[in-house]
Chain length 425, copies 2
């Protein structure tokens, strides 16, 4: 680092943080990108790792590799724990600290259980690679146990998969689990058949994909039902615990519950003691500056930034990436310019060859939308290598229905846990 260059600290190596760093490539600044993990994850495809279609390395790349050619950037593996705004310093769990001239907070979001945090243990979500491999282990172990289970009740519980939340993640997960059951299970298992398996998608609101146009929500429900998914709209989960989900008066016995219902921003707002919305997102000025903190920006899932219709912009990759570039431009002198989101459309996939896409007034469904989804996702995967192997994996899956990533890894303890849950159920 040279002493006369301003020091930009970026916390979080997700889409927003990384795009901010890359937009500062040619600037006379020193950039430090801090994250508690060593890799950037292409989050929109985590559900494919959870359902064994892709491997972790297919959708993630070491942050150092991505930035290895950017001379003014360095990468730090640290967990941020607080900010001293007056002293312009970020504090880390290791006890170290780092001074900044500019700070970009891109710390993302985690799951929200709406005040019932004890649900997290029984209904984990999918936000990290470890979450995704844990979900994969849980799904595949349930199938293995079901194959040899003679008690009909337990067997039914093992073969019941409940996804809570009907947004894009929930829809894509439910579709992918249903595909996994239909194709792979019927070929590889001897005693269980796809008909034994139930995939239940629970959404509290009146329709799936609430951020999409209504006709696509309806199309999505139909497509999921064709895949055998039991879609329940307007039903809130009242309680859940080991082995069961309660919805109204009905109790669903299930071994696998996956949470895709709500997110809450990471505690960056608390670090700054600044204003936040109900989801914990920092309220930012139109140019993405944290109110009252002229040297601090918040972007992506960490920021509450109103869109053209006055509602907060959604927590999706294109928003975070554009905000990262906008903040970089602010630091380079385009001070005070308000952020404007250029909406290129939204996409969600349903199983192996169907998707829905809303591109302004153009609504696509079925295979055409799926093809667009595939091309878009491969294109945006960071790093040419990943694009190549993901394309190969997808083509292979598409033609053979094989899922080579169907490995149960992780410690024996988890395995024992599963067994105990089963015994207790």
């Amino acid at each position: 680092m040279s002493a006369d260059h301003p020091h930009v600290v970026v916390v979080g190596a997700g889409f927003g943080g990384l795009s901010a760093v890359q937009a500062l490539k040619d600037a006379n600044v020193d950039v430090t990108l801090v994250d508690r993990r060593n890799h950037h994850v292409f989050q929109p495809l985590l559900y494919q790792v959870a359902t064994a279609a892709l491997s972790p390395a297919d959708i993630a790349a070491p942050t150092r590799s991505i930035l290895s050619r950017q001379g003014n950037a360095r990468v730090l593996l640290e967990t941020a724990t607080g900010i001293d705004a007056r002293g312009q310093t970020v504090h880390f769990a290791s006890g170290r600290q780092l001074r900044y001239d500019w700070l970009i907070l891109a710390t993302g979001a985690r799951h929200s259980y709406f005040g019932r945090d004890h649900w997290a243990r029984h209904a984990p979500g999918i936000k990290t690679l470890d979450d995704a491999t844990a979900a994969r282990r849980s799904i595949l172990l349930a199938l293995e146990r079901a194959e040899t289970e003679s008690d009909q009740h337990r067997r039914r519980s093992l073969l019941t998969f409940v996804v809570i939340g009907g947004g894009p993640t929930g829809v894509e997960l439910a579709g992918a689990i249903a595909e996994l059951m239909r194709r792979t299970v019927s070929r590889d298992f001897r005693s269980i058949t796809p008909h034994c398996a139930r995939v239940i998608l629970i959404e509290a609101g009146p329709r799936l994909l609430p951020s999409f146009p209504e006709d696509l929500s309806e199309q999505t429900r139909r497509n999921l039902e064709q895949l055998g998914v039991d879609v329940r709209l307007g039903k809130a989960v009242d309680d859940l615990g080991p082995g069961h989900v309660r919805v109204g008066i009905e109790t669903i016995d299930t071994h696998t519950i996956i949470w895709a219902a709500g997110v809450k921003a990471s505690p960056a707002a608390a670090w700054l003691g600044t204003g936040a919305d109900g989801a914990g997102r920092i309220i930012v000025d139109p140019d993405l500056r944290v109110r009252g903190q002229p040297h601090v920006f918040a972007i992506g899932d960490t920021a509450c930034c109103p869109g053209p219709d006055g509602r907060p912009l959604p927590g999706i990759a294109p928003v975070a990436k554009q905000q990262g570039r906008h903040v970089a431009a602010q630091i380079l002198g385009r001070t005070g310019e308000p952020f404007r989101y250029r909406d290129a459309g939204i996409l969600a996939t349903i199983g192996r060859r169907r998707a829905v896409a809303a591109l302004g007034t153009l609504h696509l469904t079925g295979f055409a939308a799926w093809l667009m989804w595939s091309v878009a996702h491969i294109w945006f995967l960071i790093g040419f290598r990943n694009r190549l192997t993901v394309s190969a994996s997808w083509l292979w899956n598409y033609f053979t229905f094989e899922r080579s990533a169907r490995l149960i890894t992780g410690d024996a303890e988890t395995h024992v846990d599963v067994m105990q849950t089963l015994e207790a159920a």
Copy 2:
């Protein structure tokens, strides 16, 4: 299962167990393959997962997929815990049991610490996918910590990698770690350079690769030293603990110790109460039958089977595979025929483009041997898909020196553990 077919139970889905099951493909028997993991691992390439060149899914495949087209075989995810030879029954950890007409024990081997089992915690070995990803995490975290460590002593300890054992696994690991340091580190890290890193390979015997001809051992030592590996022959480890290895009067401060020094068979001999050699391997008759147990066979690393020179055959994949096929033939009626190993040669690779091979009297070294090693390993990888992606990964690595599998995954606890070890060091 049909009641009139004999029931063959195979315990262990490694090379030996799988080849026995596949050799029974067209026979009028029912086969049950039992393993405590759901996947077959191509063990000779585990070291490439540990050094981030390949992903777990590249070298493993779900056992069910491999056998999905074999109608007379079923796969069971269970942990065997004992055998009732009189009742012809295998017992499992779940409390279940399974009757057999024929039993094939192919339970493999684990690490031996020569009576010092407390070393295992500080010097783990690499026998499973989880072992390999744990080693990868440990190596990559050491680099991350070193990048920001200002204390010169700690930094040196973080950048010292000790491999114990100079057999093929130790040689291949040491070479691969040295390559990782030379290539990737120099490009991606800002403050550490390849020259800061030390890779030390410790072998108690007088030469590396004791099962190879002597001229190749010497060539291997030279090649490793050219890669920067500090090879120490004739040195036994006297003690090791968190952060250090003691060899004679020298104490090496190191953050990463990997064990590749000795194996001991799984406890199958104890289950049967039958004779075992010093490494715990069951002593078998020439036709691989367990002495005094006409319906039980032991193969692969579980069996002590003398070769043509009277010494026990080595614990390598070709031996296990040929034994699996031999035992299948015995069950199908070729009773009492002694097993004869057809030795096609042995190979070990050293870094990115060198290897040694002994094919009878023909000894190959350098690039020619490496090419032969690559082709042989890709060929023997089970499943066409894996062959394809591994070839692509290798070609990519070869031309770009990139390692896309360089992900640190696993729970935060392990991360904390590492940090605490560092603080304590």
